[in-house]
């Protein structure tokens, strides 16, 4: 970590394929103070644009990487330090900086998705970190385990964190049976049995939130806590047009405007992101799988399954996170929840809040899971 009073800022690794990131622009000027968790520099990868956040508070003493530079993962972007550190020490720190190559290769080895047979389906998941009880991340409709790109590794610093590709999604089998919420819940529970996880903290996004709630209701002994992000199952409204269009779109032009609804800032939808979704949708069986699930999720333009008043009787602790500008499932569903439920509505974010405000959401999850773990003990 270097000297106590000097903190490096390095290129993060967002996803398996990332080897380099391109510096777009510094949000903070050299010499300005920054708070821990503040966004400091915007970085673009082939897949996504995101912000690197300050690991600690301090003064941004040096911008080492310049806008337009391509920096390898682990490479030095800048240096943070308190004002009393003199310039010579900073220079020395930059001179002596060595990227942590060993750590990188070690991490890479653990970052290969695994496959298991669950009830005749092949399910794909990515396991990171170590420590019980584990956390399970469940993505939303048309998502995949990469939706947790910015959160997964950070959460896995403290415990085992699994991200699952739900049936019909990512690299899992495209057979979804009747596509009902019940079928998805059963397959998550069966998957836990196969990989030997008896109970876990759950983080569910959108449809994954509804699955989390239904799982907690049916199998309370398996669910330690529920963190629900822009979740389904908490109210009737949903942009059903989005679901229909995403299912039927098979050209970039049709898909892009739909995907833009996912983010508060439509510019987040890069060509690569559209490409990835399009490539997924073109796999044999995906269109049918999504159509089947969508037909069960939404009936007469409204969410078919809602937990309603039964939320109060769930044993697990619950936190709800929402993007204030969510255009798929409205943030109003975060209102009027039981007082025991912790609610965080993040301004300037849409439906993909865990990507749009990755640092903040990860910290909220970290805090919540830690406190829920305490209570359960």
């Amino acid at each position: 970590m270097g000297d106590n009073h000097i903190q490096k800022l390095t290129m993060p690794k967002w996803g398996l394929a990332m080897t380099h990131g391109k510096v777009i622009d510094w949000v903070v000027a050299e010499g300005d103070p920054v708070a821990a968790g503040a966004e400091i520099v915007e970085v673009e990868t082939e897949k996504i644009t995101g912000a690197v956040e300050a690991p600690i508070g301090g003064i941004l003493r040096r911008l080492v990487a310049r806008p337009g530079d391509s920096i390898p993962v682990g490479g030095l972007l800048g240096v943070l330090a308190e004002p009393d550190v003199n310039d010579a020490e900073i220079e020395q720190f930059i001179e002596a900086f060595q990227p942590e190559e060993m750590e990188e290769t070690g991490e890479d080895q653990g970052e290969v998705p695994e496959f298991v047979e669950v009830g005749g389906r092949r399910l794909c998941y990515l396991k990171r970190g170590a420590g019980d009880p584990p956390v399970v991340l469940l993505h939303g409709f048309t998502g995949n385990l990469n939706n947790w790109l910015f959160n997964h590794a950070e959460l896995a610093k403290y415990r085992t964190v699994y991200a699952l590709d739900l049936p019909g999604h990512g690299q899992s089998s495209k057979d979804v049976g009747d596509g009902s919420l019940g079928t998805l819940v059963e397959s998550v529970r069966d998957w836990m049995d196969v990989i030997g996880v008896s109970r876990a903290h759950f983080v569910g996004h959108s449809m994954g939130g509804a699955i989390t709630l239904a799982l907690a209701e049916q199998y309370p002994e398996r669910v330690l806590s529920c963190a629900l992000i822009c979740s389904g199952g908490l109210g009737p409204e949903i942009d059903h047009e989005y679901l229909d269009c995403v299912v039927e779109a098979d050209r970039r032009k049709q898909l892009k405007p739909q995907l833009e609804k996912l983010f508060a800032d439509p510019a987040q939808v890069t060509r690569q992101l559209v490409d990835d979704v399009l490539k997924f949708k073109r796999l044999d069986g995906v269109a049918d799988a999504l159509r089947t699930i969508a037909g069960q999720l939404v009936v007469d333009g409204q969410q078919a399954w809602m937990i309603g008043d039964r939320l109060q009787s769930l044993a697990a602790q619950i936190m709800v996170i929402w993007g204030a500008e969510d255009r798929i499932v409205p943030a109003t569903h975060a209102k009027n929840l039981p007082t025991a439920v912790r609610v965080e509505v993040l301004e300037g974010c849409g439906h993909m809040v865990q990507m749009e405000e990755a640092g903040k959401v990860t910290r909220l999850l970290q805090e919540f899971i830690a406190s829920a773990a305490e209570v359960r003990r």
């Binding site: 690299q171 970039r252 490539k279 073109r282 796999l283």
Partner: protein, 346 residues
Amino acid sequence: MARVLTFQHAINEALDQEMARDPSVILIGEDVAGGQGADGEMDAWGGVLGVTKGLYGKYGGRVMDTPISESAFVGAAIGAATAGLRPVVELMFNDFMGVCFDQIFNQAAKFRYMFGGKAETPVVIRTMMGAGFRGAAQHSQSLYSMFTHIPGLKCVVPSNPYDAKGLLIEAIRDNDPVVFFEHKRLYQVEGDVPEETYTIPFGEAEVVREGNDVSIVTLAEMVHESVKAAEVLKAEGIECEVIDLRTTSPMDEDTILESVENTGRVVVVDEANPRCSMATDISALIAEKAFAFLKAPIKMVTAPHTPVPFNPNLEDLYKPDAGNITVAVREVAEYQTSWVTTTSKN
């Protein structure tokens, strides 16, 4: 998604998976089994460059070697297609198409039209194309424009492994005759290819790279040369949009026109000879439908109007490359209309 395959293996996998999925898919061609009837069938050569290797061992009689008689076996494949099979026939080099033009142009391409829409001919004709292989004048041509010219044929000209697999599966499942061009120089190109089967619709160009200054419209191996040129030009401050046609029939006119409407400057890059080519066809399209948006004359980068030379130095000169493309793009990017110059002088 993160699995890497060569272009050649992507084609082999598409054939393998479709043969496994649909028993009516068969392979016919010179040496596609290779060693049929001899010992060591599992090691059969599988085509002159090994693209169909392993399939004879797996599918036996559904992979058929033929005599060197293109008109007979292409005709047989077309006939089999009308009778309910889905043959994938390999015509080793597109240069040999001449001997079976009647089967392709007059028979396969016309059946649906002449039989009142009732006949279907789900045949795929796979063929190698392209220069740079030291194959001389009869094994190196790029003849996709000739097939694009004929109504009733679909023409696919992929540039990378992902597209090759998805477009070939689409071609096999298509109910009309498709000519599928494989550039020999791309066979060893690697790229991410999903293990699962997938299809890419015909008539959708791929914007390989976005840019606001000059549009480069291209296909097949020239996509790679154009991207190289775009990298060089980026350093000079010229941002190129590179469009990979993927299929020439049907052709994605919208993507071309939208790009030109944005940039106003266009270079068409085509490895084929220049006359009556994709380059002239695309240039005509732009001149007719996007003339008002043009800020510079359309520039074509093509081979010269000569056969492909056997002499390696001449062959290298014959083929367009990143260097030629860079020069052409600069010229188009720097072009000022003369009336602007005249008015500013007065």
